[in-house]
């Protein structure tokens, strides 16, 4: 019973003599250096990062995973905050009425074109313009938030 596995092992050990050409290992390093340089240029950054991450997590997984999760949570919070800030800025703009396609197609130099009203930007805080004659008003009392000193 014991003889057979030994026999198989001895037979398999003959495979050690299957060797590449003697110069193979001399050229291997040169090929590696050439490939590595080429690969580093083509390799996407995420792949390099992923390999490093795998090697990094391989040995201290629990601690590093904690750091990873914390980092992820901060990133998500920052993203949500930035979205909220963007949404809080109102921009009101009148919609541009679409020009009828048929009208555009029949235009030539003799046609009289009636231009549509141009869109206007409406600012919430803009003062309403008045084109009457200027009026100067001298306030009798300056505007102040201080309580009046006279009793």
């Amino acid at each position: 019973m014991q003889e057979e596995p030994d026999y198989i092992t001895k037979l398999l050990r003959l495979k050690r003599f299957e060797q590449p050409e003697p110069e193979y290992f001399e050229n291997f390093l040169k090929e590696f250096q050439a490939r590595q340089r080429g690969q580093m240029l083509r390799e996407p950054a995420w792949r390099i990062g992923w390999d490093r991450l795998c090697a990094f997590f391989g040995e201290n997984l629990p601690v590093r995973l904690g750091y990873g999760l914390a980092y992820g949570a901060v990133l998500v919070a920052a993203t949500i905050a930035s979205i909220n800030i963007r949404e809080s800025r109102p921009v009101e703009m009148a919609a541009v009425p679409p020009r009828p396609a048929a009208q555009v197609a029949s235009l030539n130099l003799n046609t009289q074109v009636q231009l549509p009203d141009l869109p206007t930007f409406v600012r919430r805080t803009a003062p309403t313009a008045s084109f009457s004659a200027p009026r100067y008003v001298m306030d009798t009392r300056p505007v102040s938030y201080e309580p009046p000193s006279s009793f």
Binding site: K10, L12, R13, K15, R16, F17, E31, R52, A55, E59
Partner: protein, 199 residues
């Protein structure tokens, strides 16, 4: 006087590589490429595949060496990268493959075990060396990638069970049971080389 523990030269080379010295990594490539080539080649039975895979193994090791903290030896670490990449490759390749075998070194004629195997009127003596090589590789090709890895490391490369269990991240018991199962399968495929011994 306390005796100083021998310093593993790999540690220094790894530290230098982590500090950005690419030549230190080149030394590691020179040191480990013959052994790792043997591992990958004997698992794939194809020289070109072994060459491409070994290039990728070293490229991956170089990319991720900054994360290597020395909890295991560099030897174990790079062997586990090589074995895992080769197992994944073999699973993707499936059964569609062609053998591309390296030549058998003529020094085999001086090998003690080879002399022992061919001394008697065994089929090994009768068979052409090329035929024997082909049969061995065909038999290896019948094993699953995991069994092939264990057989390559134990039977061909002569690694101890403990080292193989560290590389594969499984218990020594699992290694022994995989070896037992693989040997049984190999016996079935290499039966013709046993016939004369029985007679």
């Amino acid at each position: 006087m306390a005796e100083q523990a021998p310093v593993n030269p790999d540690i220094e080379l790894v530290s230098r590589t982590q500090a950005g010295d690419a030549r230190a990594f080149d030394e590691l490539v020179v040191k480990y490429s013959p052994r790792l080539y043997g591992l990958v080649y004997n698992m794939t039975s194809n020289h070109e595949d072994a060459n491409d895979l070994l290039q990728e193994v070293f490229a991956k090791a170089y990319r991720s060496i900054s994360g290597f903290r020395g909890k295991s030896s560099f030897y174990t670490w790079i062997h586990s990268i090589a074995v895992n990449m080769t197992i994944n490759f073999l699973k993707k390749r499936g059964r569609r493959f062609q053998m591309s075998l390296d030549d058998v070194d003529l020094n085999i004629q001086n090998d003690k075990e080879f002399i022992e195997l061919t001394a008697t009127a065994s089929p090994v003596r009768q068979a052409d060396l090329g035929e024997l090589q082909l049969k061995l590789n065909e038999a290896m090709g019948k094993l699953s990638p995991e069994h092939r890895a264990v057989v390559t490391m134990f039977d061909i490369q002569g690694m101890p069970h403990a080292e193989i269990s560290k590389i594969l991240g499984v218990s020594e018991g699992t290694i022994r049971s995989r070896l037992f199962y693989a040997h049984r399968q190999l016996q079935a495929h290499l039966d013709e080389f046993r016939e004369f011994r029985k007679k």
